[in-house]
């Protein structure tokens, strides 16, 4: 009987040993496969979001281009014709009334603004797009139109990014500027662009009203778009806002390295 008990004990021990070896192996194998699966799924999700965002951007850029063309070819032409007619009237009258001169000057300024607006919406200049130049133009336009103190500081002349990426970043900065003017009602806006080693740093700060981060994060389509665009550029965006010190938008992007 003793021998059978020994046999039984040995059999059970062997079985337990096999189970003790195999079950952890099965669990490890499953976990590894699960990690790979989840990673692949996350990548696919990100790729899908990128594609979606890319197509949205393409549609948006196309719409901007259409608006730009419409402004330039239609409204711009009408205003130019009006200015020309005003000029003829001025000449025919001999002595030009002040109101007519002011109207002509205002119209000239309107044509100028319209051209710069049309230019900022157009994507024809995409291939030689420079965010710093365009941002400076945008700030100048705002300064002239809205009587806002704006400044731009940059430690480089050209950002090490593809023109398309610079357009994307420009749209983010445009959105941030619009937020400062429309929602925060800021009177001072400072923009700085720096390249710090491998990082591109962009910062926009204003002296506006500030906003509630939680509420804006939930409902703000604009903020969501900004986040998406920065994410497409593999960067990060952060908002710091308070009633006392206004709003600060900080963007960090990796410097694009040339493919060897």
């Amino acid at each position: 009987m003793g021998q059978e008990i020994y046999t039984a004990i040995i059999s059970v021990s062997i079985l337990l040993l096999i189970l003790a070896l195999i079950i952890p192996l099965i669990i490890i194998n499953y976990k590894k496969k699960q990690e790979i699966y989840l990673l692949e799924r996350r990548k696919m999700q990100e790729e899908f979001e990128k594609q979606l965002m890319q197509s949205q951007l393409e549609v948006q850029e196309y719409s901007f281009h259409q608006i730009s063309e419409e402004l330039h070819d239609n409204v711009g032409q009408l205003l130019s014709t009006t200015k020309m007619l005003l000029g003829i009237t001025e000449r025919n009258l001999g002595e030009t009334p002040d109101s007519l001169r002011t109207a002509s000057e205002t119209l000239g300024k309107a044509i100028q603004d319209l051209r710069s607006l049309s230019k900022s919406l157009s994507n024809e200049w995409l291939h030689q797009f420079n965010i710093i130049e365009n941002l400076q133009g945008e700030l100048d336009r705002l300064k002239a139109a809205k009587q806002i103190e704006v400044s731009l500081k940059a430690n480089v002349h050209v950002l090490p990014l593809e023109p398309q990426e610079q357009v994307m970043l420009f749209r983010v900065m445009q959105e941030a500027l619009q937020n400062s003017i429309k929602h925060a009602r800021a009177s001072e806006i400072q923009v700085s662009i720096e390249v710090r080693g491998d990082i591109i740093y962009l910062c926009l700060s204003d002296n506006g009203l500030g906003f509630n981060m939680d509420e804006a994060g939930k409902n703000g389509v604009g903020m969501m778009n900004m986040k998406h665009r920065v994410k497409l550029l593999n960067g990060s965006i952060e908002w710091t806002s308070s009633e006392a010190s206004g709003t600060k938008v900080e963007i960090n992007l990796p410097v694009q390295k040339p493919v060897v």
Partner: protein
């Protein structure tokens, strides 16, 4: 011993009735058929006082076909599926010859051992090919418990089944007793794990989505 048999039959009946509530998947359908046949065979064997092993000799290939299909049903590897079909054909032929050669009162020791060995292999294959389902842990996957049940049962009984016929010639009473104890104990363990696997479908996302 009587108590162990009662538990064994109760669990077998419970698993069968529980499986009827989760018949959406092919695995459970096959398992349900297997449990039903097991219930009938074991009841017939009990009436015969476990003397006529012809039931088991006939049941063994059916059991192997169903178990191997249960274990490999969810596998997408065509090679494995072809191998399963090949072993089913070979094993059925082997069983047929075994029935013709052996006496009906002789336990089908060799074919049961071959079945145990093959099933253990399919269990291992099944374990390593369980496809991950989102963030769900392996212990929440019904197929894991079903496979674990068959794996432990086959691994636990393979030794005693293999030596049973040789052992019985020397120590008939002891061999019969040990064989019954081991078989019933591992069957109880099998049906407990199968019950977890069957009821586990209630929480299985993949099953709920079907």
């Amino acid at each position: 011993m009587g108590l162990l048999y009662c538990i064994y039959f109760a669990l077998l009946a419970f698993d069968f009735f529980a499986s009827l509530f989760f018949l959406k998947t092919a695995v459970i359908k096959l398992l349900s058929v297997l449990l039903f046949i097991s219930l009938i065979i074991d009841a017939l064997a009990a009436f015969n006082n476990f003397k006529n092993f012809l039931f088991y000799a006939l049941f063994t290939p059916v059991e192997y076909i169903l178990v191997s299909l249960i274990l490999t049903r969810h596998l997408k590897q065509r090679t494995v599926n072809h191998l399963v079909i090949l072993t089913i054909i070979l094993f059925t032929v082997l069983c047929f010859f075994s029935i013709r050669v052996n006496e009906t009162d002789e336990y089908p020791s060799s074919i049961t051992s071959v079945e145990d060995l093959l099933t253990t292999i399919w269990c291992l294959v099944c374990f390593f090919y369980i496809e991950p389902l989102e963030e769900v842990s392996i212990i929440k996957r019904p197929i894991f418990w079903i496979t674990l049940g068959f794996f432990i049962y086959n691994l636990g009984t393979i030794g005693v089944n293999a030596i049973y016929n040789t052992w019985i010639t020397n120590q008939k009473d002891l061999a019969t007793y040990i064989h019954k104890i081991i078989n019933v104990s591992f069957n109880i363990l099998l049906y407990i794990l199968l019950a977890i696997g069957i009821i586990g479908h209630k929480w299985d996302k993949k099953y709920i989505q079907q």
